[in-house]
């Protein structure tokens, strides 16, 4: 039997009614994926926020390390030409 304290941590992503993408809203403990989705429903969509839920084990997420922040992110700081700010976006192009 899995001890209660050993229930793994899951990260929860919810897509709202007008949202196009799932947004990280928090985390929870659950014994398995199925229970995690149901717990997420009870904890994070109580106020009518969501239409879709993703859960993923926190341990399965590979993250960048805060220690390598400078070499990892700093080089893009002065490359303004990577931002699409030099042309007009037509009014009828949605979700930009």
């Amino acid at each position: 039997m899995t001890a209660r304290s050993n229930w793994p941590l899951y990260e929860v992503f919810v897509r709202g009614k007008r949202g196009l993408n799932h947004v990280h809203v928090g985390s929870l403990h659950a014994a398995d994926e199925e229970m995690a989705v149901r717990h997420a429903r009870d904890l994070y969509t109580r106020r009518n926020e969501g239409v879709s839920i993703w859960v993923v084990k926190a341990a399965d997420i590979t993250a960048s390390s805060p220690d390598e922040k400078d070499p990892f992110f700093a080089p893009s700081g002065d490359k303004v030409y990577r931002h699409p700010t030099f042309y007009d976006i037509p009014d009828d192009v949605p979700h930009m």
């Binding site: 009614k17 949202g19 947004v23 659950a30 229970m35 009870d42 926020e49 969501g50």
Partner: protein
């Protein structure tokens, strides 16, 4: 794009996400006059039966707050208790309108004596352990869902609207309980034994759910009609949970009278003492 996650989830320009969005009043646009041909006193009696079931069941679920095995389940169980409390409020308020006394929901909940409560005895028994509570919730939600699904066609439009709201809620309650019953029943040797014990302890209170009171079949749903659906759902869940259908005999009535007649178990008095103590200590207080 957004400063915090909730901005991405809520409606455009709604800064009050903490209060929820897109909620609808279940009784909006519903005609609240008692339909012609319906006996107001009988309708009120029926609303009290269904309302008291929800109120007392909600109280037993609330008792898990601060005691649930996991924080996540505590929130889930509290949500279920709140759903049922919401149903109880609508039903008790309807009773006060239907019987012409104009009594409010609080008066029914907090100022009636034990003999005036019409709930089935299943809901008043104390929580023995988590397995018992999940077995009871499975039994209660399976029975109530079958009932509410038929009540959406009620002659009383208010009752029909309350039932329509309740169907969506209780379907989830049944799902939640069934998953725990299967998880524990088909779990370890210890969890299986405790789940079986919980189910066996709940079983004496099941028979009363289907004998009912004459008022029920006259104005609402005859509970005897629900037995076949109840048995089919329970059989499916118990098979998946590798549990045995208990053969515990039904709890005796008192000269044929039980919860629907205001005859309750010893534990009901203690429950009401706690439920009503604040309201009785501070009459007419508002909060």
């Amino acid at each position: 794009m957004f400063d915090n996650a909730y901005e991405a989830l809520t409606e455009e320009g709604d800064a009050r996400w903490a209060f929820g969005t897109g909620f609808a009043d279940p009784l909006s646009g519903v005609d609240t006059t008692v339909p012609s041909g319906v006996d107001g006193a009988e309708l009120a009696a029926y609303c009290l039966m269904l309302g008291d079931d929800a109120l007392i069941m909600s109280h037993r679920l609330q008792e898990w707050c601060t005691r649930a095995p996991e924080l996540e389940d505590e929130v889930a169980i509290a949500n279920i208790g709140l759903d049922l409390l919401g149903q109880a409020r609508l039903l008790l308020a309807r009773a006060g309108k239907a019987d012409g006394t104009d009594r409010g929901e609080d008066e029914f909940a907090f100022l009636r004596t034990e003999q005036a409560f019409r709930n089935v005895r299943l809901v008043e028994v104390g929580n023995a352990d988590f397995a018992f509570s999940m077995a009871r919730l499975l039994v209660f939600a399976t029975w109530r869902l079958a009932l509410l699904q038929r009540l959406v066609d009620s002659v009383d439009p208010v009752l029909a609207a309350i039932a329509a709201k309740g169907v969506k809620e209780v379907a989830y309650h049944r799902d939640y309980a069934a998953r725990w019953v299967v998880r524990l029943g088909d779990g370890t040797e210890l969890s299986h034994q405790r789940m079986q014990n919980g189910l066996t302890a709940v079983w004496p209170y099941v028979g009363e759910l289907f004998t009912g009171h004459p008022v029920e079949s006259r104005i609402g749903v005859d509970p005897a009609e629900l037995r076949a659906e109840f048995d089919a759902v329970l059989a499916q869940v118990l098979t998946a949970a590798t549990l045995q259908l208990p053969e515990t005999p039904a709890l005796a009535t008192v000269l044929g009278r039980s919860g629907r007649d205001g005859v309750h178990t010893e534990e009901m008095g203690y429950l009401l003492a706690e439920l009503q103590s604040v309201a009785r200590a501070h009459p007419d207080a508002t909060w």
